[in-house]
Amino acid sequence: MKTLRILIALLSLGMSFHEISQAQKKIKVVTTLNYLKYVVQQVGGERVEVFALANPKQDPHYVTATPRMNQLATDAALFVENGLTLDPWAKNVVDASGNPGIQPGSAGHLVATINVPVKELPLEVSRAWGDIHPQGNPHVWLDPFNVKIIAENIAQRLNKLDGANAIYYSDRLEVFKERLDVAMFGAELMKTLGKKGGDILTRRVKNGELDEWLKARSMDTKLGGWMKDASKIKGTRIVSYHKTYVYFCDRFGIQVAGELEEKPGIPPPPQHRDAMVELVKRENISMILNDNFYSPDAAEYISSKTSAKVVVTYIEVGAAPEVDTYEKLMTYLVDKISEAVR
């Protein structure tokens, strides 16, 4: 009887150790883009080990899937891609990884933007329109509200894969969302409105009624963060090289007058470049946003014939030391545009 008790005790102890080791085992996550890596790290904390495949300085549309990437994904528990045909090379990696757990349709495969409200859904899908995205503009992460949805998607998937740490992921998700809200609206306003402040303000911004709502409650002076900083550039008209900043500009009240690319993915032809010179002059546009991986030749040509400044911008987390977090990336973009307006 005594021996049996000892055996049961040892068995229980063994099972406890097994449960603890399972709970402490890190989940290997592979992401296509670096902003996704950052979000997974914020939600997963020390329970995850995350690798991003693309070089953050690269054009995310055109990344060469290599054997190094394929092997990295071989034993991943979760593969996260942006989707919306921004990173179609992800399919090459998933296929070549030989990892059944991350194939589309598996719990280990996540399209992070699955329920993000997309803009610019094309009415006609044809190559005649250039390198268009049939499911809408994929540069969704440049709107912090979309990143909150993406973080929720990631947290849900981590919960599914690692239910033992569900509370841990949910807590970290809330902390991350709160941090984004503070960065968006400022600490003072968030403190005044309390725990639900982020949701309330997000709804007001989405309905285009934040200013009136804050004024009606005499809280407009408490607004801080990116919304406050961006209020100085609200209404500014800009031109961008590619349709990269649609979400960013919509969120912060900046107007995109046009793109240097006449059709997405195709460098601007001379006639279109000259038409853009006329547009910039006519509408008194002060800046041209040019992603770091696109040739600045067209933007510099237009700048040489007008008073518009060329602003070369990073759009990925980790592309430069000053944008090594998502929060810093957004601050950097707001500041860069503000500086160019001055």
Binding site: A54, N55, K57, Q58, D59, Y62, V63, T64, A65, T66, P67, R68, M69, N70, Q71, T74, D75, P88, W89, K91, N92, D95, A96, S97, G98, N99, P100, G101, Q103, P104, G105, P117, L121, P122, L123, E124, V125, R127, G130, D131, P134, Q135, N207, G265, I266, P267, N292, F293, Y294, S295, P296
Partner: protein, 443 residues
């Protein structure tokens, strides 16, 4: 053969139209359901407003503001439904389809004949290939790829050929996880004997395949037309544990139908033939890529045939491609060995070898220039050598449309090929849902 192709094309068009019509009906039903839902929402809102007007506790201003927001949301939803129903409904469950069309013309200073030495092919244009590429998941465990090629038979007519047709098994119900990331390919495919043999004609950075690939590995109509080694068999593709720091080691082990390699000259050897390819690769921030590979092929039997190959590819493409510059260089060498018995009963051992080296530089977003040098001993008589130097310029409007102009100068111990100068002009266009190319040379 042409009739067969036309019949096949008609049946495919008919079946895809039928599927398309069915999917269109399905999306119409979904669309109608969502419209009904929106109408219902509107009715609910109107009844809410009626309650409010009857003193139900909601102010008129509040109801108006709510109404405005509802209307805005409804408009957004309607736009989205509209766009989605137009943009994606037609592709549900259909295989992704891509068509590649390759047209090439040549101008020569001498008469040039096809491989059989019958038809003249100099100074004329050819519709070299039309490839139809279909691919789709079969079920949660496998994916299928079928690439049908309508090929010009060196000016003597057209033939339809399954360039590749294989199933890619990703997992099995009895084996959910495969060791070392193993993938299993079953069917007919371009074999991993070197690197360039795996590329299709429309993906080549040159107008013609390197001489050593077309003559040692496979050609029916000469190197100006589609060639290479695409046997039927099984391919196991897996990663090896890291044994060189920083390098990824990938291995292919194949069991193939023997006698299909051009160098084996249709010998009735034992089945199957064996092929292995080891690829070591280094990837520095996706800017510098280096591939180093070795292949071994073996057929046993009355006329034992073996082939060794080594390949090297280096690619540089800056991550911030502000100046649209890139550089590719590489080469492959093949060494064959075939033992046969002549009419007197004596053993003849042929050990020819050949190689090629190439380089390509990108001058702008659209323009690439490159050169290639070929040298080989003829596989049928190793005392005869052929060498060739070629240069080309490729102009891409996008990755879907390419124009290429090239010049080749050939010296050979074979009189009909000696002092042959040729100008090539090639147009390649691709339409449909072209999948992303791995290790793409021009992006």
């Amino acid at each position: 053969m042409l009739r067969l192709f036309i019949a096949l094309a008609f049946s495919m068009i008919f079946s895809s139209n039928h599927l398309f019509a069915q999917q269109k009906d399905d999306s119409r039903i979904q669309y109608d359901e969502l419209r009904r839902e929106l109408t219902l929402l509107r009715m609910q809102f109107d009844s809410l407003r009626a309650v409010s007007q009857a003193g139900g506790g909601i102010s008129e201003d509040g109801a108006d503001a709510l109404s405005e927001r509802f209307e805005k949301r409804i408009r957004e939803l309607e736009n989205k439904i509209d766009a989605v129903s137009r943009s994606t409904a037609s592709v549900v469950f259909n295989p992704r389809t891509t068509i590649f069309v390759n047209v090439a013309a040549r101008a020569d200073n001498n008469a040039v004949f096809n491989a059989a030495g019958i038809a003249k092919i100099d100074n004329r244009p050819f519709m070299r290939t039309v490839e139809l590429d279909f691919r789709a998941p079969v079920d949660p465990y496998a994916e299928a790829v079928v690439i049908l090629a309508l090929e010009d038979e060196a000016g003597t007519g057209f033939a339809i050929d399954p360039e590749e047709a294989y199933g890619l098994i990703k997992r099995l119900p009895i084996l959910e996880t495969a060791p070392l990331g193993m993938k299993l390919k079953i069917g007919k495919f371009r074999a991993p004997l070197g690197v360039n043999n795996k590329l299709h004609m429309h993906d080549l950075p040159w107008t013609t395949r390197p001489l050593v690939i077309s003559r040692f590995l496979g050609t029916e109509h000469g190197e100006f037309f589609e060639s290479g080694f695409n046997p039927t068999g099984v391919d196991f593709d897996f990663f090896l544990p890291k044994f060189i720091p920083g390098a990824t080691a990938e291995m292919n082990v194949d069991f193939l139908r023997a006698g299909e390699l051009a160098f084996s000259e249709g010998a009735e050897n034992k089945q199957p033939a064996y092929l292995a390819h080891l690829n070591l690769s280094w990837d520095w921030d996706n800017e510098h890529l280096l591939f180093l590979g070795g292949s071994g092929y073996l057929e046993r039997g009355e006329s034992p045939t073996s082939m060794m190959g080594f390949d090297l590819t280096y690619r540089w493409a800056p991550s911030e491609r502000r100046t649209s510059r890139s550089f590719v260089a590489g080469g492959e060498v093949f060494i064959g060995k075939r033992t046969s018995v002549d009419t007197t009963g004596s053993e003849i051992v042929a050990k020819p070898y050949g190689w090629f080296a190439y380089t390509q530089y990108q001058l702008s977003y659209w323009l690439y220039i490159g050169a290639r040098y070929d040298w080989l001993q003829e596989p049928t008589d190793e005392t005869l050598t052929t060498k060739s130097l070629s240069a080309y310029a490729s102009y891409y409007t996008t990755e879907f449309l390419r124009f290429r102009l090239g010049f080749e100068s050939r010296q050979s111990d074979i009189p009909t090929q000696n002092n042959l100068n040729t100008i090539h002009f090639e147009v390649n266009f691709v339409f449909g849902s072209h999948p992303t190319e791995p290790y793409w040379v021009n992006r």
